[in-house]
Symmetry: C2
Subunit: 152 residues, 2 copies
Amino acid sequence: MTAMPATTVGQDVHFITFATRDLDAARRFYTGGLGWEPLLDVADEIVFFQVAPGTVLGFFEASRFAQDLGSDDRPPVSGVTLAHNVGDRDAVSDVVAAMVAGGGTVRVAPQEGAFGGVFHAIVEDPNGVVWEVAHNPGWYVDPQGRVSLDGP
Amino acid sequence: MTAMPATTVGQDVHFITFATRDLDAARRFYTGGLGWEPLLDVADEIVFFQVAPGTVLGFFEASRFAQDLGSDDRPPVSGVTLAHNVGDRDAVSDVVAAMVAGGGTVRVAPQEGAFGGVFHAIVEDPNGVVWEVAHNPGWYVDPQGRVSLDGP
């Protein structure tokens, strides 16, 4: 390891991008099932959704995803989850129902989580992207967008 | 597929969480290398960083990650990238240097990307999380946080 450079890196994620084997199933899930509006949708290539101020979630056709990384394999999605928090326990079940209607698969039904004091469910999207849907009583976002994990 | 429920799901990602085999290496990379401030850091369990208004990136010790999903395996990270955009091409190289100093591995040196009109590099963090560092001339975020991919 060399000496730390003077440059520091802005603490921002601008894109989260998944290798997507079935782009049409992703479209059905996110637009039809969840009711989301694409930021950009390119046939046979990619669909983008804005998911936070300044942050975009992308589903990138798997062979192009691989090509962009200089590889030939079409990797499965593994070792990552996305989470969506809701205001109460009933809303966890409502979101799970919407995900199932859109083509998702319930992996863990709504229940107490092992970590973090959450009530949650785990649902896979049609391409194996794992979503946690959670009610976390400590989750709080102030008007400037700053997150707190133990309330206001 | 059943009828679409009346519920739609807020278009928000609140957590992005990676299975992390070496949590100390993740700490060195993100705090020492990139200069980021943790939102919460729990020894042997997880380190969180806020990366957008209302959105948190988490590195979760791999066996606990698996347990939280009701599994025993410690999955490798695959099929996902995060991207960080910067204002010009030189800044791509600066961020890559910071990532290497923090323990990252260059997978694609700074060059023209195959997609999206970007100049980019690809760097893996010490746990295999793939970062794209990019200068994208079309990337624009308005004062309300709305993203445009073709400028203001």
